[in-house]
Amino acid sequence: MKNNNDCQFNESFDLEKKLQASFVQIKVSDSGLKKIINSLPVTNISPQRYNSREGQSAGYFNGFVLNRFKLAIPAVLAIILLIGGAMYLSRGSSTGPQLAQKEAASQTNAITPSPINSLVDLETMLQSELNDELSLMTLGDSGETSRLSGEAEIFNEINKTYDKIEI
């Protein structure tokens, strides 16, 4: 029995040695290694796959960060797009014809319920018009008065000339 066991042990020992020797001689290519790793089942011990997307980040921490970024980047992009869109819509609504419509609508809304508000303009217009009218009507007064001085100048010239007449 003992011999039998020893024989089995020796056989397994030999086999192990052979295996070790064969392993040492084996040179696995990168692509072959990838295939092997990818064919392995996912377990707790080996959660990561070796593929081109994951590159060389085989570590657990790197994988954790990468997983978080996978979620964070689209989320940030989505937020940026939302903010940008909101700004664009906001800007677009206050320019050009839309602005005119908006103003017209606000004006109409402000006064339509009570056109009486517009009468305030008519009141202020009146006083301004009357003041301006009076100013305009007195504009030429000084010019008209200066016509007299023109004639006075003429008289003075005559007077001077006649005073100088030599007899």
Binding site: L134, N159, I167
Partner: protein, 255 residues
């Protein structure tokens, strides 16, 4: 202003160039210096004086023409300003009323039709009162300008009349000297008489036109009358306007 001064300068140059040669010719024939032939001296003196009077008349006419053109231009410019401003006021008022009309028309109030009617009444009342005011204001302005024109015309005629009287007095004095010369009166006496007559003519001329300065007050009074009339027309318009506006306000307050 610059143009006016320029025009005056031009007139001055023209008159000077016409007067200088005349003065130059007759300067050598001064009455007091010619004793050999007094009658010739008087004749030369008479020609020189007549030439001076004529040149002065030309100068006055040119000066007045410039002044009148300037005045007409100023009045036209003022009228244009007033006219443009009135058009702007009208357009502004119409725009405001139209806006109110649109708002009333677009409302769903039961009183919409009565509000539109009130607005139409307001427009009519304002238009009528506005036209009355404009007529009154234009009339006040016309009266003022006519009044000033009359004052200036009176002043011109006073100056021209005095000038003519002076010139006639000088002509009479020269004629008298001619007679004295023919009557063999001594040159010294002729000269003394002539000097005295010329002096009297000058004094008369100065005294006659001394009332000129009083015309300034007359124009000021005319301006006050004009401004008073405009203010009065404005007050009437304002009362009408505010009354019409109050009525419109009452109507628009109803639902």
């Amino acid at each position: 202003m610059i143009k006016s001064k320029f025009n005056k300068t031009i007139i001055g140059v023209i008159v000077s160039t016409t007067l200088i040669p005349v003065g130059g010719v007759f300067a050598q024939t001064n009455f007091s210096k010619i004793k050999s032939n007094n009658c010739t001296a008087v004749t030369i003196l008479e020609a020189r004086l007549l030439s001076q009077f004529a040149n002065k008349q030309l100068e006055i006419r040119a000066s007045r023409a410039v002044r009148e053109a300037e005045n007409a231009k100023n009045r036209a410019a003022n009228d244009r300003k007033i006219s443009e401003q009135r058009r702007a006021w009208d357009q502004n008022l119409i725009a405001r009323i139209n806006l109110i009309e649109v708002k009333i028309s677009s409302s769903t109030l039961a009183s919409r039709d009565s509000q539109l009617l009130a607005l139409a009444n307001f427009k009519t009342a304002i238009n009528n009162s506005r036209n009355t005011k404009l007529t009154a204001v234009d009339s006040a302005m016309k009266n003022f300008r006519d009044g000033v024109d009359n004052i200036i015309l009176l002043q011109k005629s006073q100056i021209d009349g005095s000038k003519l009287a002076y010139e006639n007095a000088i002509k009479v004095a020269v004629l008298k000297s001619k007679e004295d010369c023919l009557a063999k009166v001594s040159p010294k006496t002729i000269k003394e008489h002539l000097d005295q007559r010329v002096l009297t003519a000058r004094e008369t001329f100065k005294n006659t036109v001394s009332d000129l300065n009083k015309s300034g007050g007359a124009i000021k009074a005319l301006a006050e009358v004009k401004n008073g009339a405009i203010k009065s027309a404005q007050i009437t318009y304002k009362v009408d306007y505010e009354k019409a506006l109050a009525e419109l306000k009452t109507s628009l307050s109803k639902n």
